[in-house]
Amino acid sequence: MFNHIARRLLHALPTLWLVATLTFILLRLAPGGPFDSEKQVHPTVRAQIEAHYGLDQPIYRQYLRFIGNLLQGDLGPSYKYEGWNVQEIIAQSAPVSLELGALALVVAIVVGMPLGVLASLRHHRPAESILMGIAMLGICLPAFVLGPLLLLVFSSSLDWFNPLGWNYPSDRVLPAFTLGLFYAAYIARLARSGMLDVMQHEYIRTARAKGLKESVIVCRHTLRTALYPVVAYIGPAVAGLISGSFVVETIFFIPGLGQFFVNSAFNRDYSMVVGTALFYALLIILFNLLVDIIQMWMNPRTRND
């Protein structure tokens, strides 16, 4: 197990290097630069700015310098936000995005799993169609529709929540639901099909034949195996939750990292794009590893390897 983790972490290094290099090259290929603006600056001024950030150097020199700094843990200054370093910006806003992602994950699991299990127990009944209909709706509703919709109901009409901000505990509710419901819906579908699949197995029939209580069958025998695909899905889901929070952050004015991730590309803020891309890549690698560990632990066949 330990060896496996160590090996996986070692494999992560070339992946991260690839992410950094590809982002670096693709950005340079994109037309327009970080210092283009509506009002043209004088060519000499522009040359000075570019020299300041080393952008006047040949690409390979820029790349070597960038990799050198990266190895020392320095992501460089943001080209857009004067006086801010990329690692400062990430340190400032990533915890907010992570909190939002974690809460959304809780929503996804707490809402999605019971929904799916319930639907599977009501197989071929109207309740199943209704529950799965709701789940389908959740998948179809994008955040930019769901967010304003929740705001309309719970903020404008009922006045239960602030329409924006990230100041009070209650400010977390609507964003977490907006972000989490899509994943809840997906988890519900996975849980349902997992349950239905397992229920047909011989050993469930054996359990029933032995006269076990249905609740015991569901909890002890079915759920664990049935949730296997759900757990497998949580890895990519987490990746989506933390890197896909841009829309939700914009709707609810949440000072998270998602906005920087998206806008830095529009701003051609080279160092910021590479920095956020690397940060997300690292998170995704770590979460996938975590999910793998959980799966290994869940599966007796791999647990002792």
Partner: protein, 556 residues
């Protein structure tokens, strides 16, 4: 057996139901109610704290490096230049300089600094601080985009371009701690107005040098813990994409003139910003989403405002590309746009149709209309150019940066050209930075553009189309026009000067390298408790004039 399992499933069902509903219910009950505090507008009124929506975080707070509008809103709270502007009349008023004299030839200004002027750390503000600041923004190594604003000062341009190395040769000096002398290359009629621009603002030399060299761009001096300013407010807190707060500066030279205790700038995107305003979380926004205009006009007309300001929306034509190299074609395109229709049905915020380039009443200059909507004449001109009824007219591309508004306008104009002239134009949109680079390469036929004046003088508009302007992407170059603009900048007599400018503008519209479409309108939402906020074309709203007071009791 079957029955029993059915029953247990039902029980299980109840338990699962509880599993879903209880946490949800608890979460809702627990969180609703708690955390809902008085709205910002109510709280602000009690404590004289103003909540302003800005659509994006400032990219920086260094007056010598920033170029954006949002940064200006904040910087005029934190720093003060030699002069300020009256929010109502835009008249130049004393700032750090209590008074000034101009020499007879209009080329030398002597400023007497306010003896009470201090930095927020208590240091006295001296004339040398301005010399340091001007040296900083003009230093080539700083790469300040707005350094050109100082070019009227003698030697400033040469120093900024590295042609002059000795800063003492630049026309600024401090004969005594409270006297600053600025010498100009030529009498510049709009010079005093320029001084209220942030690029002329002073910075605190010891603070700059403590956090780096004089030319450090990525310096930490603008962080809240480090910032030393001389404006009516001090920087209290600032994180990116989070509210930026400033609080009243007790050491300001005239602290009694400031009634607000705090200002909070909230960088919220357009749609959430409007929701925040509706929920009482903002006093003021600098934008209203188009789709909400009608709602406000109908339900809360007192909260929406439309103010003209110094900006022109126009289409630039690439005069090097046939058939746009033919002035008759350029005119035909300009004359066949029905601007009134466009404004009434698409822009819908009371914009003014533009039949000249410089917005009305720019520094007292009102240009004459250079043309009118005349599809008949447009067809005639196009026929004369060899394209009767648009026959044989090549399919030109209209470039704009990706945005719903620009697209709607482009589609409407495309249709007008099709109907009136019988020509087909292809629409072509690019993401902002790509568009900028395409435009700079001159790789377009027709391009959408906009220009906002830097200061209240026609030169900021008419200077755009001179041959050596970096912002003239049309390829149009006219020595006669250049000479007129040059001459206008050397003419002190305002009436004579306006005449020269009018001649230049008429020439510009005769040649039509750019097609003016409309003059900008700033549409904003403002809460009735905000007083002293005056509309003006420069979009300058001194915070010393603003205060919060309960709205008068309704009379109905």
């Amino acid at each position: 057996m079957r029955d029993r399992s059915q029953r247990t499933i039902a029980v299980r069902h109840m338990q699962l139901k509880a599993l879903i509903y209880y946490p949800l219910l608890c979460a809702l009950l627990f969180t609703s109610g708690c955390g809902k505090k008085a709205s910002n507008v109510e709280r602000g009124l009690k404590q004289q704290e103003l909540y302003v929506g800005i659509q994006s975080s400032p990219s920086g707070l260094d007056p010598h490096l920033t170029t954006g509008v949002v940064e200006q809103y904040i910087l005029i709270a934190l720093l003060e230049g030699l002069v300020t502007r009256d929010g109502q009349t835009l008249e130049v008023k004393p700032g750090v300089a209590k008074s000034w004299d101009m020499s007879a030839d209009g080329k030398t200004y002597t400023f007497h600094l306010d003896p009470n002027a201090r930095w927020s750390n208590g240091d006295p503000l001296v004339a040398d601080d301005f010399v340091f600041s001007f040296k900083r923004i003009l230093s080539p190594a700083l790469g300040a985009p707005n350094a050109y604003m100082l070019y009227p000062m003698r030697g400033a341009e040469a120093y900024n371009k590295g042609e002059l190395v000795d800063f003492s040769k630049v026309g600024v000096s401090a004969p005594s701690p409270k006297i600053l002398v600025i010498e100009l290359d030529a009498p510049t009629p709009y010079f005093l107005g320029l001084l209220s621009h942030v690029s002329w603002f002073p910075v605190h030399p010891p603070t700059i040098l403590k956090h780096g060299t004089i030319t450090d761009r990525a310096s930490k001096w603008t962080q809240p813990a480090n910032f030393v300013g001389n404006g009516p407010f001090n920087l209290e807190s600032w994180k990116l994409n989070a509210p930026l707060s400033v609080m009243k500066n007790p050491l300001f030279r005239d602290p009694d003139s400031i009634r607000l205790k705090r200002i909070h700038f909230l960088p919220i995107p357009i749609d959430p910003e409007e929701r925040a305003f509706r929920a009482g979380h903002l006093h003021l926004t600098y934008f209203v989403p188009s789709h909400r205009i009608d709602w406000y006009l109908k339900n809360q007309p007192e909260r929406i405002r439309f103010d003209t300001y110094l900006g022109t929306y126009y289409y630039g034509l690439n005069v090097n590309r046939p058939p746009l190299d033919d002035v008759r074609v350029r005119k035909a395109l300009a004359y066949s746009i029905n601007r009134e229709d466009l404004i009434e049905h698409i822009l819908r915020a009371g914009q003014k149709a533009a039949y000249h380039f410089t917005p009305p009443n720019t520094g007292g200059y009102n240009a004459k209309d250079g043309f009118s909507y005349d599809p008949q004449l447009a067809r005639q001109l196009l026929a004369d150019a060899g394209f009767p009824e648009g026959e044989g007219f090549p399919k030109l591309q209209l470039l704009y940066n990706t945005s719903e508004q620009h697209q709607t306008i482009a589609v409407a104009i495309q249709q007008m050209w099709k109907t009136e002239l019988g020509i087909d134009i292809e629409l072509y949109n690019q993401e902002w930075k790509v568009y900028l680079s395409t435009r700079e390469e001159g790789n377009f036929d027709i391009m959408r553009a906009g220009w906002i004046g830097d200061y209240d003088d026609p030169f900021t508009f008419l200077g755009l189309t001179t041959s050596n302007s970096g912002n003239n992407h049309t390829g149009w170059s006219n020595p006669e026009y250049d000479a007129l603009i040059q001459k206008s900048n050397e003419t002190l007599d305002p009436i004579q000067r306006r005449k020269i400018l009018q001649t230049a503008e008429t020439l510009l519209l005769e040649e039509m390298p750019i097609i003016p479409i409309n003059f900008y309108v700033r549409r904003l939402l403002i809460h009735p408790t905000v007083h002293g906020w005056s509309p003006n074309v420069l979009d300058r709203h001194p915070y010393s004039e603003i205060y919060l007071e309960a709205e008068p009791a309704s009379t109905d």
